[in-house]
């Protein structure tokens, strides 16, 4: 039989077959969303047209709870927001209340705070690196990162008995004096860490699969970062040397010699490099603080009952994920009138849609990982 041209399909069918747009639901239970994050993706083939985040699955009403607890009672709750960087959360909250009370923190307490916060930054970045690499398909780094993170958690455990939600600080200073070998263990960890960072570089930095999966993926330039309020390693990877520890020093950071790592392209690879360098800089800070730990009291002049005068204060710190701010309003009573947490993860996640547009669906996983979100902090 002679070949005949196929009749063109009816018009209605043509439009149907032509439309490649697909709405895909990712999460809330998905291994690479680091918690319970739901992302609704609009796709054209494998290209992402847009992403809408559905959040709130872990909402516990932390800001409401604050209004119903005393100032001291609320302090442990803040650890449960960004639970991989609980020490940073505690530092921000304590500093905000101390600002309301207008109390001086003794130098020894400040130095111990800096040591623990920087160790926590390293632990947070290690957890990020391990899980981010796992998301992209590299299985080994997560084991190595958890091995080193364990050393940090051991120091926390020896210091205050808790590993994750440490509640390490108290309003006015510290609850506990350091233990006998605290400085030596911190210094030993810094030595260990410096060598291990090189190990991660050997595994990933020149790895072709890693480079192909991260270079040029999820670009957010400096203007985009400022527009979306994105801070932390994402902003620095876009070339802005902005770090609150330098811009508006707190807790005695002006005394330490360290640099702000930056990169130029603002892509996933650059954020990886920036965070790797930040771990080394944190080691530098820990070393300086531990080598010259001042003697003296560990708590400022704070009464047993904390009752700040009416007023308000906004205090922010450079948490591992960006600017973590606490806006605390006092009406002169025992409970805070209002506590507002400015969570870096929540604000940074707001830029996910912009970063995903035009990329491939496989890159969405890499981009969620590179923002470094903790859903406990996004949802509060």
């Amino acid at each position: 039989m002679a070949a005949t041209a196929l009749a063109p399909p009816p018009a209605a069918e043509a439009t149907f077959l032509d439309s490649n747009e697909l709405v895909l639901n990712m999460g809330p239970q998905h291994p690479s969303t680091h918690g319970v994050l739901r992302v609704i993706l609009k796709l054209d083939g494998e290209t992402v047209l847009g992403a809408d985040c559905v959040i709130g699955y872990l909402h516990r009403g932390v800001e409401k709870i604050a209004e119903n607890r005393t100032y001291q009672q609320f302090a442990p709750y803040v650890d449960r927001m960004d639970y991989v960087a609980a020490v940073s959360n505690g530092l921000g909250y304590c500093m905000a209340v101390e600002k309301l009370l207008d109390v001086e923190i003794p130098p020894r307490a400040q130095a111990v705070r800096v040591i623990l916060t920087e160790l926590n930054r390293i632990a947070s970045h290690l957890l990020w690196l391990g899980t981010h690499a796992l998301d992209i398909g590299a299985i080994t780094p997560v084991f190595l990162c958890f091995r080193e993170r364990e050393e940090v958690l051991k120091i926390f455990e020896s210091y205050c008995g808790a590993r994750l939600t440490t509640h390490a600080f108290r309003i006015g200073g510290l609850q506990y004096e350091t233990y006998d070998t605290f400085e030596q263990e911190c210094l030993a960890f810094c030595d260990l860490m410096q060598a291990k960072v090189q190990e991660y570089h050997d595994l990933l930095t020149g790895n072709r699969i890693w480079v192909n999966r991260t270079k040029g993926v999820g670009i957010l330039d400096a203007a985009g970062c400022k527009d979306y309020g994105v801070t932390g390693p994402l902003l620095r990877a876009a070339g802005v040397a902005w770090d609150l520890r330098k811009a508006q020093p707190y807790c005695g950071y002006e005394k330490y010699d360290f640099e702000i790592p930056t990169a130029a392209n603002g892509d996933t690879f650059d954020r990886y490099i920036v965070r790797m360098q930040e771990m080394e800089q944190s080691c530098r800070i820990v070393r300086q603080a531990a080598e010259a730990l001042p003697e003296g009291p560990i708590k400022g002049k704070v009464g047993k009952v904390i009752k700040p005068p009416p007023g308000e204060a906004y205090v922010s710190i450079e948490a591992p994920k960006g600017e973590l701010g606490y806006y605390v309003v006092s009406d002169g009573s025992l409970n805070p009138y209002r506590v507002r947490v400015r969570p870096p993860s929540f604000v940074n996640l707001g830029a996910l849609d912009k970063m995903c547009r035009g990329t491939l669906i496989a890159d969405v996983v890499a981009i969620i990982g590179t923002i470094d979100i903790v859903l406990g902090e996004v949802d509060r």
């Binding site: 959040i55 709130g56 909402h59 009403g61 800001e63 409401k64 709870i65 209004e67 119903n68 600002k99 309301l100 207008d102 400022k226 527009d227 979306y228 309020g229 994105v230 802005v240 902005w242 811009a247 508006q248 005068p309 009416p310 007023g311 308000e312 204060a313 906004y314 922010s316 600017e323 701010g325 806006y327 309003v329 009138y337 209002r338 507002r340 400015r342 929540f346 604000v347 707001g350 830029a351 912009k354 949802d379 509060r380």
Partner: protein
């Protein structure tokens, strides 16, 4: 808290341009604070961004004062990378009044305004997509209002969606 006059080009120019729209400019515990009228809040924010280089919206939130005449206080915190300054802008609202949106100035305002709407029920005039963000879409009530109890819940929502009598 110690309060002092806030001197400098920013408060001077704001007062010169907006007159009575600026209710006060001061330093509260060393932090810069501008209380503005609701009518000029949007223009003040635009002026801060365009004329004074406050290019980063740090935070946007609200405080509920049911005993005060105008019960809601909306707070914007803006920062300038160039001058390393942080300014808090505040305005007050009554129930039913709308706050101006900052989404045309800062993309960051999108989620932050949704959160304020979700928690306080304050609407932002001109927001492109004002819906709840943390609470379920159909939830009744605004949890961060002072009259909302700490164990209060939307019983109908809980019954319908969780198939239980109470979430307590």
């Amino acid at each position: 808290m110690p309060s002092a006059a806030w001197e400098g080009a920013v408060p001077d120019e704001l007062r010169a341009r907006f007159g009575t729209g600026i209710e006060s400019t001061r330093l509260l515990g060393g932090q810069k604070l501008a209380a503005v009228s609701l009518a000029s809040a949007g223009d003040v924010l635009r002026s801060l961004r365009d004329d004074h280089g406050f290019d980063y919206l740090v935070d946007l939130t609200a405080v509920h004062w049911p005993t005060k005449g105008r019960q809601f206080e909306v707070v914007w915190i803006v920062y300038s990378f160039a001058s390393n300054e942080r300014v808090r802008v505040k305005t007050t609202l009554e129930e039913g009044e709308k706050a101006p949106t900052a989404t045309s100035l800062y993309s960051a305002a999108n989620w932050l305004e949704r959160e304020v709407y979700d928690m306080f029920g304050i609407e932002f005039d001109g927001h492109p997509d004002l819906r709840r963000i943390l609470m379920p879409d159909e939830w009744a009530g605004f949890p961060l209002r002072k009259e909302y109890g700490i164990v209060q819940q939307d019983a109908d929502w809980v019954r319908e969606n969780l198939k239980i009598e109470s979430a307590q």
